[in-house]
């Protein structure tokens, strides 16, 4: 059995007076793609933000690589080996593609530049727009830059939030190819509304509804579970 890299145990998160997460559980196993599924506003994005320490949990625990990271600062969590691609991509609009990559690089050594070369092979468009401001890129290019930025460091785990959102089908295909390639060298937790995409690249799923985990298992099982898909995802 593959090693559990990330374990989220009964996390509760408050944002202001709102109790957003009310008991989310899930595990991400090494080398797999774990997908968080659920309707809009179910709490998927907040779950990723809570793992990253951006909206810290008020209860529960996040254990990464055997270490409790629940109360750690965001930068410590990132330096511990978690890369994050937020829903809005988080591109620094007034920095060029090159500068965006440079800010992301934790160590500017030979290994990092080799990794950058590899990332640019995955996303050749970025090389074309290397000196262009991030704010001037198309939605797809921004998504590629956000993923490249997260992947340029040797992260053990990547959290990717809705990479297909607002993208044309042909771009979604490219993003999927890239995630499949990234999966060979890292573990991925993916938030995705597009079930077609999620089911093609996900190994496991966790269904979140109204801020709590309601279902989890292997993706292959969910594909054939029409009742769960209809009840929680409105499809099928």
């Amino acid at each position: 059995m593959m090693k559990t890299l990330l374990k989220v145990e009964d996390i509760h998160t408050h944002i202001g007076q709102y109790h957003i997460l009310q008991g989310v559980f899930f595990e991400a196993r090494e080398g797999e793609v774990s997908v968080l599924l659920g309707r809009n506003g179910a709490g998927k994005t907040t779950t990723l933000k809570t793992i990253m320490g951006l909206t810290p949990a008020s209860k529960g625990a996040v254990v990464f690589n055997g270490q409790d990271i629940t109360k750690k600062a965001t930068y410590t969590i990132a330096n511990g080996g978690i890369g994050y691609v937020p829903e809005d991509q988080g591109i620094f609009a007034d920095l060029t593609v090159e500068e965006n990559m440079k800010v992301a690089m934790r160590k500017e050594d030979e290994a990092a530049y080799k990794r950058q070369d590899y990332v640019l092979q995955l996303f050749p468009d970025l090389k074309t727009f290397w000196k262009k401001d991030g704010g001037h890129l198309s939605g797809g290019q921004k998504q590629m830059l956000a993923m490249a930025r997260a992947f340029v460091n040797d992260s053990k785990l990547l959290l990717i939030d809705e990479p297909s959102k607002g993208l044309a089908p042909i771009i979604i295909e490219k993003v999927m190819e890239a995630i499949t390639e990234m999966k060979k060298s890292t573990t991925i937790v993916l938030v995705e509304q597009n079930f077609m995409m999620a089911s093609r690249i996900g190994d496991r799923y966790t269904l979140i509804d109204d801020g709590e985990t309601v279902h989890a298992g292997e993706m292959a099982d969910l594909i054939h579970n029409e009742e769960v898909k209809r009840k929680y995802l409105g499809i099928g």
């Binding site: 600062a73 930068y75 937020p86 988080g90 609009a93 007034d94 920095l95 800010v103 500017e108």
Partner: protein, 286 residues
């Protein structure tokens, strides 16, 4: 023509002093979203400590270095004790930094006494050059050169170095910078200390320019700096330079041609910018 040149040099020198004060303020606001009303106090401390070091050592350079170090130390103390507890709360920031401004001002009187202090221009920067009817006062030219030098150095750092990139990225999206593994709080502290050092540098350069220094000088200049930050665009370093020169020149010309409007002109400029371009003339690119 001669008059115009003299007024321009005068306006540029005043503008540069305001720029040095405002640039720190705009970086602190742009990156940290902190409204620091104590900034003028750091300016006044720069003036007093600089004159004190200058008098003690007989060297104006040591006076400048002393003022900058004072600014850095006070910046560290202010960020740690005053600003850190009120991050994210503008109302508390205004109240506590205004209160700290009063404390800094009163502390100046405790340390150096309640009376004004005289500040002399060093002998090698005293006097002027005459080109026909045009009179260029050496010290004013010195201030202009220092202002442009500081702008050049900071622009280079912001545009070409990793820490500069991080600061510019932080102005745009603090959370993302942290998610990339950067300790933004430490960057905040460095920026606050750099901004305080610039305020102190502005203060020590101001001292010989005006000839006398007094504890309340921080209040007066801080208002001008805030006007410049609003006109230039909050968080924009080049915006601060442009707006400071604009304010300096407008003040200089108005003081000669329409003296009654010399004080009101800055407020008028700010009002016009706020009506037609509320985000300021430049956007926050750091």
């Amino acid at each position: 023509m001669e008059l115009l040149i003299n007024l321009t040099v005068n306006g540029l020198a005043t503008g540069m002093l305001i720029f040095l004060l405002a640039s720190g303020l705009t970086l602190i606001f742009g990156l940290m979203s902190v409204l620091n009303f104590a900034h003028g106090g750091l300016f006044a401390w720069g003036a007093y400590s600089g004159v004190w070091f200058y008098t003690l050592s007989g060297s104006f350079v040591i006076g400048i270095i002393g003022a900058i170090i004072t600014g850095i130390i006070l910046g560290f103390i202010t960020e740690k004790l005053i600003i850190t507890p009120v991050y994210g709360n503008h109302v508390q920031q205004i109240l506590i930094t205004l209160g700290f401004m009063l404390v800094l001002t009163e502390l100046l009187k405790v340390v150096w006494g309640p009376n004004q202090m005289a500040a002399k221009v060093p002998s090698y920067l005293a006097g002027s050059w005459e080109f026909g009817d045009v009179l260029i006062i050496k010290y004013r030219l010195f201030i202009i050169i220092v202002g442009f030098l500081v702008f050049g150095v900071f622009q280079y750092m912001l545009q070409k170095t990793k820490i500069g990139l991080i600061v510019r990225a932080g102005v745009m999206d603090k959370d993302m910078v942290q998610a990339l593994g950067i300790n933004i709080k430490r960057v905040f502290l460095y920026v606050f200390m750099a901004g305080s050092a610039l305020a102190a540098l502005s203060g020590v350069l101001m001292a010989p320019y005006s000839g006398v220094i007094y504890a309340e000088m921080g209040f007066e200049f801080a208002i001008l700096a805030f006007i410049v930050v609003v006109i230039g665009g909050m968080g924009s370093f080049p915006g601060s330079l442009f707006a400071a020169i604009l304010v300096g020149l407008a003040g200089s010309y108005m003081a000669y041609y329409v003296p009654a409007l010399s004080l009101a002109v800055n407020m008028m400029l700010m009002a016009i910018v706020l009506i037609f371009r509320p985000q300021g003339l430049f956007t926050a690119k750091g």
